[in-house]
Amino acid sequence: MDFSQLIFWRILFFSIIFMLLGHFALKFISPQRRHKLFLLVISWVMLGTISMETLLIFFSVCIGAYVLCFLQTKHNILPPRLLLGLMIPLLLLPLFYYKYADFAINDVLGQDFDVIRNLIIPVGISFYTFQVIAFCIDTLMNKEPIPGFVNYMLFCSFFPQIVAGPIERKKDLLPQMENIQPGFLAANLKTGISYVLIGIYFKSVLADNLASYMVTNYDGESAVIIWINNVLFSLRIYFDFAGYGLSAWGLAKCFNIQLSMNFWSPYSATNISEFWRRWHITLTSWFRDYIYFPLKGSRTKRWWLNILIVFLISGVWHGAGWNFLIWGLLIGITMVIHRVFAKRGHKMPAFPAWLLTIITMIFIWMFFYVTNPAYLLQHVKSVFDLTHYHGSFPLPGIKTDAALGVIIALAILTIVLEAISLKRHNDPYRIFTHPVIIVTMVTLMFLAHAGEAPAFIYFAF
């Protein structure tokens, strides 16, 4: 479900044709029900085109959760907490097997099981598993009624958000699914298409071009190259993931569904806590509601430990590897430091605070993309060793041509526009719906697309 690939739009186009034809053929079903059925079929077809294995794993997680919740609400089979204690590990089992078994068993425990090496992680498994778990907790703990099966499945499998979020909550998405407005509305189409274009511009023009300049598998010898790579990755991951989120938001809007915004111009944040409130918002709030708050959040003396736990888990969620653990830990530590300073009433002026936040994040992203532990160690050594800040231009192994300057300038301009839009309209992306900017973005899509593009980064999670 790669919005930047033509194949996705081809499948969607034919699905909509099929949907319109179906509206005439299935007139005996109410328009709303027809709309729901078509959305379900499109979602499953989209998931099935990735692989049948992906679809089957998805069904097993979603249907398994529904059956258990259904039995509990109808027959009260076990105390809710006990049932959740049994259910959650069960729901996490496919995720653990595909994503963590190799790391946990072979790397951490030092075993040698070839069957679990290099397993292909089913697309979207981390996202829908967390969405389903949140659904189960909300339903069972709050003793809420179980929704109808079609509505529930639509909540789980709505195609714009299934593979890379946003991780939606029952209270936000399910009522919309239940009362979905059939057909297409002009106002929603206008907003939706505009956001899809913004998302594709983020991905194809910015993220993919930035990616083409990154030195992959770099051993970390030159600190200059490391910093260039860090900057490129920091920009790339934002435009990649935000690009997906904006396209998903826009596409959902076209089908009259309002998804949550996953990003809120994080690079204009002036402190690290604010940054994480604006980055992957639905995941951060998931961790806040289902891990941080149950640990008593900041209402305990161990608040710092709670923060560290949350971000360690966040690191693990992102991937199985030591680098992700360190990445999570570093974010946790910076959050704690910021909280301590804030509690003591210290406040930096806006610009230095923003600069410090940006530099901190540019450094921390290094732990996200360097997955080889030996290389990561060398990266850290080089960054803190002045003797590694050598090298005259041209730098070995990295392309530093004028086009890179243009792309970086475009990326920075985009972030500045976000900040302006946030101040003016209280929405960082609204400015991009201005006709002149739409024309510019579409023109750039033709002129500066990166050719054969890598998939969205978060598809790997």
């Binding site: 274009l197 192994g397 990295i398 033709f446």
Partner: protein
């Protein structure tokens, strides 16, 4: 909705028109260079994480049309990047185009061939070519230092260059026939297979000329600089002669150059032919572009040499020079 559709259509139209303008006013040869560079870069990205060392072969069209990385991988199990250029830029220009491949652990091989154009003229030409296309993302990379060189270069030379380019663009076809798609096939690893076998119909003697790669201080100096650059970047460096059509007598000059380089500490990969062949069936459209038969032979020679890294020694070369001298007498 109408406004949005209008904006999208205008944006698309503008994008298409601008792209067409860029394509129309872009030097057809540059489009070709860009295509080759993209193919080479894509191949490099594909193979660079292989555990075996990477052999980067830098040169001009004599390399681009003679080294088939896939054949070398299949036959010798080595990973090769054909970073051959197609512009007559000369050795320094060829290095500029391929320098982003010179990285730690790689084995860089520079091809030596007749008229290597060591002077900076070729280099300036290369810079200018790239400078004029600096805003396209699909070009041979131009780094900041080189861009400054272009901008600080003399204005009249740049203007003259643009005038020449205008004529070429008006004609709409690259100067060299092999740059036209119907006359050659560009493989997805940067190797260019030439279909024109003009050389087969030529009279051998008429093709002989004295132009060989002679032992000059320029070449030694250039090779030393290259060796230093590779050393700084953690790569190893050596040179080798590309296969060229000439009378076998010319091999003695190559042997002298090889000895000169060896004495100066530049390793020269061993090839008994010393880059000279008088078999016309090995060549396609020029005395340095190979036919399929020549490519097979050349890929085999280079593959063996790169895999085993056998270098000429001073004694061997002296012996070879003596025996070639005897033969020519």
């Amino acid at each position: 909705m109408k406004q949005l559709s209008f904006c999208i259509i205008i944006g698309m139209a503008l994008g298409i028109i601008l792209q067409q303008c860029i394509d129309k006013y872009m030097d057809p040869e540059l489009i070709f260079f860009g295509k080759v560079a993209n193919m080479t870069d894509a191949w490099f990205t594909k193979v660079k994480n292989n555990p075996a060392p990477l052999h980067i072969i830098i040169g001009g069209s004599e390399i681009a049309t003679s080294v088939n990385p896939r054949a070398m991988q299949e036959k010798h199990g080595i990973t090769v990047v054909n970073a051959g250029n197609h512009a007559g830029f000369g050795l320094p220009g060829n290095v500029v185009a391929a320098e982003h491949h010179i990285a730690k652990g790689n084995h860089v091989v520079c091809s030596l061939y007749p008229a290597p154009n060591i002077t900076t003229q070729g280099l300036k030409f290369a810079f200018r070519q790239k400078g004029l296309n600096m805003f396209s993302t699909n070009i041979i990379p131009l780094n900041t230092g080189n861009l400054l060189t272009v901008l600080s270069g003399d204005l009249s030379a740049n203007v003259n260059y643009v005038k020449r380019q205008r004529k070429r663009i008006k004609r709409g076809r690259p100067t060299h026939g092999y740059m036209n798609p119907e006359k050659a096939t560009l493989h997805n690893n940067g190797f260019l297979e030439i279909h024109n076998m003009r050389m087969h119909e030529m009279e051998p003697e008429k093709l002989y000329h004295d132009e060989v790669c002679a032992a000059t201080s320029d070449i030694v100096e250039f090779c030393k600089k290259m060796q230093q650059l590779c050393h700084e970047r953690g790569a190893s460096f050596s040179v080798m002669f590309a296969l060229h059509y000439n009378s076998l007598d010319c091999r003695i000059k190559h042997a002298e150059l090889a000895r000169h380089l060896t004495v100066n500490g530049i390793p020269v990969l061993k090839d008994e032919r010393l880059g000279i062949s008088d078999d016309l069936s090995y060549f396609s459209d020029t005395p340095s572009h190979l036919s399929n038969k020549g490519v097979d032979i050349c890929s085999d020679i280079w593959g063996y040499a790169l895999k085993n890294r056998i270098y000429w020694t001073e004694q061997e070369l002296t012996k070879t020079i003596n025996s070639l001298g005897e033969t020519s007498k």
